[in-house]
């Protein structure tokens, strides 16, 4: 662990660049980047996580389309090289080299949710995740205000304590930073002016949600067949099972393992894992063809219950962190926040009836 300190500064655009250059010498620095023209539609950009070398590399104004979970849990990862009957791990990242991740409060909470599954659930930690996680340090990007579809305040994920650096970007390219790690402090140019700063946290949601009380929801599931409620039929009609909500979510952690053989040399191959999503066909299909949740409404129900109920029962905290990316990305304009509120309405009506 790094030594703690506490200092804050105003950095000019040039000083911010110099700090990033300095940090890049000793660590990997990753943040949200705008990739021009790489979006789904012609001429549309996409904001996703990648290496940042200068202040202007960081797209800090709008929300990123994809979450920073990619730095811990890549969409496609080789677990083993398969050579004949030999099974070899690929070279691992250096666990000693820190990775400084620029991200928002909701996403820092999102990493905590990934930790529960990859580190805590089951008999042992996931070694690939654990190696990356041990490198991670957070550079909190302050949110000036709740963005479209956001509901972190409702989920209690608007405030974070765990960060090494906090930053408020200014429209002119300068920034206010709070530094808590001594080796990050070493990268701050000597010319930087000390200025009192600690990050503010969003206090009001763009889309406030009412999350049902866990006990009341559990009762509604057992006693009033919430899983068979007609509310889910709406999603059978609207959802197209594309999985964009799963893949943009900072807390969705499901994967499938996939062996691939080389076409040219059948004795060579890899065992990979790739992202999987509970909305996508074949997620639960077994050998022999038996399947569950074949209608899309039951998949929406399954995901919703995981995000606001099942995870909480198992780990003591809700899985959903209220980033709203599922709503940002849904091509059918399904609103997850509206769904949570609908569940709350049904639970309340059940309590009255």
């Amino acid at each position: 662990m790094t030594e703690e300190t506490h200092a804050s500064f105003r950095l000019s655009p040039d000083e911010l660049d110099r700090a990033l250059r300095s940090w890049n010498r000793n660590m990997d620095v990753v943040g949200p980047r705008r990739l021009q023209g790489r979006g789904r539609m012609t001429g549309q950009d996409v904001i996703r996580y990648g290496p940042v070398a200068a202040g202007e590399d960081i797209e800090w104004k709008p929300k990123s389309d994809f979450s920073p979970k990619v730095v811990l849990f890549p969409p496609n990862e080789t677990l083993f090289h398969l050579v004949g009957t030999e099974i070899a791990e690929p070279p691992a990242v250096d666990p000693e080299r820190p990775l400084l991740l620029f991200c928002r409060a909701c996403d820092i909470h999102g990493v905590d949710r990934l930790d529960r599954v990859f580190l805590d659930n089951g008999p042992a930690p996931d070694p690939y995740y654990q190696r990356r996680r041990s490198r991670l340090r957070f550079a909190l990007i302050e949110c000036a205000a709740s963005m479209e579809n956001c509901f972190c305040v409702s989920m209690g994920t608007n405030v974070v304590e765990d960060y090494s650096l906090a930053i408020r970007f200014q429209p002119d390219g300068s920034a206010l930073v709070e530094v808590r790690d001594r080796d990050l402090l070493a990268g701050i140019p000597e010319t930087a002016a000390p200025e009192a700063f600690s990050p503010a946290f969003v206090q009001e949601d763009d889309r406030p949600v009412r999350v049902p009380e866990p006990d009341e929801l559990a009762r509604e599931i057992r006693e009033n067949d919430l899983f068979d409620h007609p509310m889910w039929e709406l999603y059978s009609r609207r959802c197209i099972a594309c999985g964009r909500c799963n893949f943009s979510c900072p807390t969705c952690s499901c994967f499938s393992t996939l062996d691939v053989a080389s076409e040219d040399a059948p004795e060579l191959g890899v065992r990979r894992r790739v992202w999987a999503g509970c909305h996508v066909d074949r997620f639960t299909e077994m050998a022999g063809g038996h399947d569950v949740r074949t209608d899309y409404g039951s998949r929406m129900r399954f995901k919703t219950m995981h995000k606001i109920h099942d995870f909480q029962q198992r780990f003591g905290t809700h899985m959903c962190v209220g980033c709203g990316r599922c709503d940002d990305q849904c091509p059918e304009y399904i609103s997850f926040s509206a769904c949570i509120n609908h569940v709350s309405d049904v639970v309340e009506q059940g309590a009255e009836g």
């Binding site: 677990l79 083993f80 398969l82 004949g84 009957t85 099974i87 791990e89 599954v117 990859f118 659930n121 089951g122 008999p123 042992a124 930690p125 996931d126 070694p127 599931i221 057992r222 899983f227 952690s253 499901c254 994967f255 499938s256 393992t257 996939l258 062996d259 691939v260 053989a261 059948p266 191959g269 065992r271 894992r273 999987a276 509970c278 997620f283 639960t284 299909e285 077994m286 050998a287 022999g288 038996h290 569950v292 949740r293 039951s298 399954f302 219950m305 995981h306 109920h309 099942d310 995870f311 029962q313 198992r314």
Partner: protein
């Protein structure tokens, strides 16, 4: 790296025994952890894939897997002969709680390939039958679609020498001398010495489990006296990949064996 929970170990095939046309039992050299009844392994064929397979038996230095040819991985296994290496991780999952059966009349009801995950349990219980640590009495009910689907024929015959075994097929042929009818038809007339004291295990395809559980509940067996084993899609077997999650439970680590008092609330 030893701490990698995803790394399989090589296991040599030492015997291949066809049970039916599409269910074959593979005996493998295995000096890893000894499985307990009801546990499973992640079985892989490199460059083809991995699949969860329950253990159907084990002994000193070996385990057995009874594999049905129904998917990518199992198709590849069927091309392999004695001497070839498979790759395994495990054993995984919660086993049957054999201590719960000590001193009780225990009934095992298995449908189709569901007999494979309880074969080891039956053998274990027969070994302790009538002793302090074993069941006081044991019934085995086994149902298959047709005579051609019957698994472990010689085992069923050997078990029947030690304890009552009721074997049935849904559709008999002209050579079949035994009982005909779905497994639930055996339950209403089954002699259960003390309903409140019995222990019942039900394993099989989803529909068979549903109706068999209902038949035992009708007899007055309580959900606390019933155990089931669930089969679900899995990629990891160790609580990470999410495919087998049902509500707040992961079949790979909280199951596959559940007490029905808990399992009755699990909805996919």
């Amino acid at each position: 790296m030893d701490t990698n929970i995803f790394r399989p170990r090589a296991a040599r095939i030492i015997e291949v025994r066809p049970e039916t046309a599409i269910d074959w039992t593979y005996r493998l050299e295995w000096t890893g952890g000894t499985p307990q009844p009801g546990q499973f392994f992640q079985v892989s064929v490199p460059r083809v894939g991995e699949a969860p397979i329950s253990t159907s038996g084990w002994g000193d230095g070996w385990i057995e897997l009874t594999i049905r040819k129904v998917g990518r991985v199992t198709d590849a296994v069927f091309g392999l002969d004695v001497g070839v290496l498979l790759h395994l991780r495990g054993p995984y999952g919660r086993p049957f709680p054999v201590a719960e059966f000590a001193g009780h009349h225990t009934i095992i009801a298995a449908g189709g390939t569901g007999l494979a995950p309880v074969r080891g349990l039956i053998q274990h219980l027969l070994g302790t039958l009538g002793k302090d640590e074993g069941p006081s009495f044991l019934n085995v009910l086994a149902g298959f679609k047709t005579p051609g689907d019957v698994l472990f024929t010689s085992d069923l015959r050997a078990w029947a020498d030690q304890t009552p075994v009721l074997l049935t097929v849904d559709r008999a042929d002209s050579d079949w001398r035994g009982h005909e009818g779905v497994i639930t038809t055996l339950i209403p007339d089954l002699e259960i010495r003390d309903i409140e004291d019995a222990r019942v295990v039900v394993v099989g395809p989803p529909l068979m489990m549903k109706f068999t559980l209902a038949a035992f509940l009708d007899r007055g067996i309580a959900p606390e006296q019933l155990w089931v084993s669930h089969e679900r899609r899995m990629s990891c077997g160790v609580g990470k990949c999410g495919h087998c999650k049902i509500m707040n439970s992961y079949v790979c680590i909280d199951g596959p064996v559940y007490r029905y008092a808990d399992a009755q609330w699990l909805t996919d």
